[in-house]
Symmetry: C2
Subunit: 359 residues, 2 copies
DNA sequence: TAAATTTATGGAAGCCCTTCCAGAAAGAAA
DNA sequence: TTTCTTTCTGGAAGGGCTTCCATAAATTTA
C-alpha cells in the first residue's frame, strides 16, 4: 500500500485495530458490537474500553454488505407540497431512532418524475424499505416491488398490494359538519375541491352523512365543487372563487360552510373579508388538515394525526422488513376536530329569523 | 452455501453474473460502469446489454466500501421549525442529483439534543459530508470535524472553521426599513426578537443604518425587543406582546413597524386586530423571512433565496469533498423585498397630526 | 481422574465492489 | 520477420464487517 494519506492522514479504526489492542479476535469484537450473548463479561468490557478510547464506530457500509441489510429506509415524498410531510417525517424519524435505522430522503419535484426517481434510487438496493407518500405508485414499480417483496408502506395513498395508511377523510368531514350542526346551524354548505380526487369525494360523503343523520336536507346550491385540476382544486384560489359564489347568494347564503381544506378556507376567508363579511359573526367556517396556517388564521379544522401516522408507518415497515410475507394491511387513522374561532353558533340576523331561532 | 432463499428467492445480480454472461472479466464490467476509457466499444456494448437485460445496478454499499466514499451526505436540520428547511433541501437535492449523491436526513428534535444526535448518528454514518442547518455547531464536534477535515457546510449559522452561508440579515433589515421610509413614513419602529441572538442583532443594525441614512432619528421608545429565550423571541407570542406595548402608546404609536420575523408579525397583526386597528391603514408592517404564512396574511416581507442557498451549499460541499484543504469560505446571500398589502403610505389621522406630517 | 458438556474465542470465508498489476492481442516500426 | 508500443482485458487483493466452524478453556458429570 502506498503512503497516500487517506482522508488527510486520519484513518478511522477498524475492527482489526480494536482486536489487536484488546488482544482478542475480530470475531469477538464483532460479537461485542452486536450484543451477542456468548462473550464473557471481562472480554466485553476490555473490548469496549479499547473501542471507546479509539472512538471506534462500526462502518455501516461494511456492515450492510456483510449483513445484506442496509439499515436505512427511503422516504419518497412530493416536494411540491409542504408542511404535512415534515410532520409525518418527524414521527417516522422518532421511530427509526428506536430501530437504529437511517432515513434517506428523496423528494420528487414533479409527479412525472416519480418513476425515474424510483428507478435510480430504489432499485440499487440501498435501502431496506420504502415509505411512499401521497402519490400513486406507478404500476411498473408496484408490480416489481410486489414480486420482489420489497417492503413498502404507502402513506396517504393506496394500493392493494402494499401496506397503506390513510386518514378517514369521510369521518373527518362528518366531524366537521356535525360540529356545525351542533352549534345550531341549519343552512350549512360545503365548499369542496375537485370531486374527481379521492379525498374530495370522501369528504363530500362525510358531509352528506352528517346532514342526513341530522335530517337536514342538503340544498344543492349549497354544495360547490371546484373544477380546477391544479392540485385537484385544493388551492387558495379555488377556495376564494367558490366563496365568491356563496357570497353572491346574498341573504340566502349559508350560515356555515364546511370547506374541504384549510388552504381553500384561507382563500374563502379572503373572499369574505373582501366582501366586508366577518367570520364567524356572518358565517362559520370549518376547514380540513390543520396546516400551520389554520392556527394562525384561527380556522376550526380537522386534524390528521401526522406524527402518529409517521411513527406507525415506520413501525409497520420494520415489521414487514422482518417478515416479507405478511399480507398487506390497511390502517385508517381517525382525524379529530380542532375548534378555533372561525366557527360559532349562528347569529340571528333579522327579526324574522329571531322568531325561528327562539325555539 | 445453504439453500436459504435470500430476499425470498430474488437475489440481485452481481458483477460476477454480468461478467460470466458477457464472457468478460469482472474488472471489465466494473470499468464499463465507471466509464473507464480503456474498454473497447464492442465489449462495452456487450456488457451493457447483459447488464440491462438482468436489470443490474452496482451495489452502492460495496462501491462505498471499495471506493472509500459513500456518495451520500447528511443534512442535520432542526425539526422544531418548518418551512425554510424544506425549501432549502429542495435546492440541495436538485444539486445532489447532478452529483449522483444521496441525501440522508437527520432531524434534531430539540436544540439540546444536537450533540447527542451528532454523536449517535453522524459519527457512525460515515457520510461524505454534512450540511448543518441553523444551529450552533457544538464545540466538541467542531473541533473533531475540523481536525478530521470532515467536509461540513453550515447553513444559516456560522463557525470560522467551516464553510458557511448566511443571509445578509442586516441588508434585509435595511431593505425593509427603507421600504417604509420610501413610502413616506417618519415614525418608524422596530419590533425585534431577543437581541442576544445574532440575527436579531444584525436586523437591528440594518434598521439603524436605514434610519441613519435617511436622517430620521430613532426614538428609543420605538425600538422594542423581546426578552424571551424561547426560540430567541422569534415567536408569535413575542410579537403579540410587544405589539401590545406599541398599541399602548396610543396616538404616539409609530405609523410603521419593521418586525424581525414573519412569525412575530403574525402575532403583531393579531394584537392589532384585537385592538381594533387595521393594517396597513392604521399602521404598516414589514416582516422578515417570507414564510408561507406571510403570503397568506399578506405581509410585506424580506425573502431569503432558499432554493439557491440549498444548491450552493450542496455545490460547495461537493467541492470540499474533492479537496479537503480548501480554506473555509463564507458566502452571504442577499435577501430581497416582497411587497404585499401590509405596507402602505402613512394615512393622515387627525388635524393635529396633519400639521406635523405636512412637512 | 477421565469423559462429556458447556462456554468463549479465533479467524477464514464471503458480502460486492474498485483498483492495480500482469499479460494478451493487435499495430507500428525496424 | 522480429521487436517495441499501445490498447484491452482478467482477476487477485483489499475495503470492514458478519457468521460460521473449529478449537481451546472452563465446568460439570460419571
Amino acid at each position: 500500500m502506498e503512503a497516500l494519506p487517506e482522508r488527510n492522514g486520519y484513518l478511522p479504526p477498524t475492527i482489526y485495530d480494536i482486536a489487536k489492542r484488546a488482544k482478542v479476535g475480530i470475531g469477538t469484537v464483532s460479537r461485542v458490537f452486536n450484543n451477542h450473548p456468548s462473550v464473557s463479561d471481562a472480554t466485553r468490557k476490555r473490548v469496549l474500553k479499547v473501542a471507546n478510547s479509539l472512538n471506534y464506530q462500526p462502518h455501516p457500509y461494511a456492515r450492510g454488505l456483510a449483513r445484506k441489510r442496509t439499515n436505512s429506509i427511503l422516504a419518497v415524498i412530493p416536494f411540491f407540497t409542504t408542511f404535512f410531510f415534515l410532520e409525518i417525517l418527524q414521527g417516522v424519524q422518532e421511530k427509526l431512532g428506536e430501530l437504529d435505522c437511517d432515513l434517506l430522503l428523496y423528494g420528487v419535484h414533479h409527479p412525472d418524475h416519480v418513476e425515474s426517481s424510483l428507478r435510480q434510487n430504489v432499485l440499487r438496493s440501498r435501502v431496506d424499505g420504502i415509505l411512499f407518500f401521497s402519490m400513486a405508485m406507478p404500476a411498473a414499480f408496484a408490480k416489481q416491488y410486489a414480486q420482489m417483496k420489497t417492503p413498502v408502506v404507502l402513506i396517504d395513498t393506496y394500493n392493494k398490494d402494499f401496506d397503506s395508511l390513510t386518514v378517514e377523510n369521510s369521518f373527518g368531514a362528518f366531524l366537521a359538519t356535525n360540529h356545525l350542526i351542533s352549534l345550531g346551524h341549519k343552512r350549512i354548505g360545503m365548499l369542496n375541491a375537485n370531486i374527481e380526487s379521492l379525498p374530495a369525494h370522501q369528504r363530500l360523503k362525510g358531509f352528506q352523512r352528517a346532514m342526513n343523520e341530522a335530517e337536514i336536507p342538503i340544498d344543492p346550491l349549497y354544495v360547490k365543487k371546484s373544477s380546477s385540476t391544479k392540485l385537484d382544486g385544493f388551492t387558495r384560489e379555488a377556495g376564494y372563487e367558490l366563496m365568491k359564489e356563496f357570497i353572491a347568494l346574498g341573504s340566502e347564503m349559508p350560515t356555515a360552510i364546511f370547506v374541504s381544506s384549510d388552504i381553500q378556507a384561507s382563500g374563502a376567508l379572503a373572499a369574505l373579508t373582501e366582501a366586508g363579511l366577518r367570520c364567524p359573526e356572518d358565517i362559520s367556517i370549518v376547514g380540513f388538515d390543520d396546516i400551520e396556517l389554520a392556527s394562525h388564521l384561527g380556522i376550526t379544522t380537522i386534524r390528521q394525526p401526522m406524527a402518529e401516522m409517521g411513527a406507525f408507518a415506520a413501525g409497520r415497515l420494520a415489521e414487514r422488513m422482518n417478515n416479507l410475507n405478511l399480507p398487506p394491511t390497511h390502517k385508517m387513522f381517525m382525524p379529530s376536530l380542532v375548534v378555533r374561532k372561525s366557527s360559532a353558533p349562528p347569529v340571528v340576523r333579522s327579526v324574522k329569523q329571531k322568531k325561528v331561532s327562539l325555539v
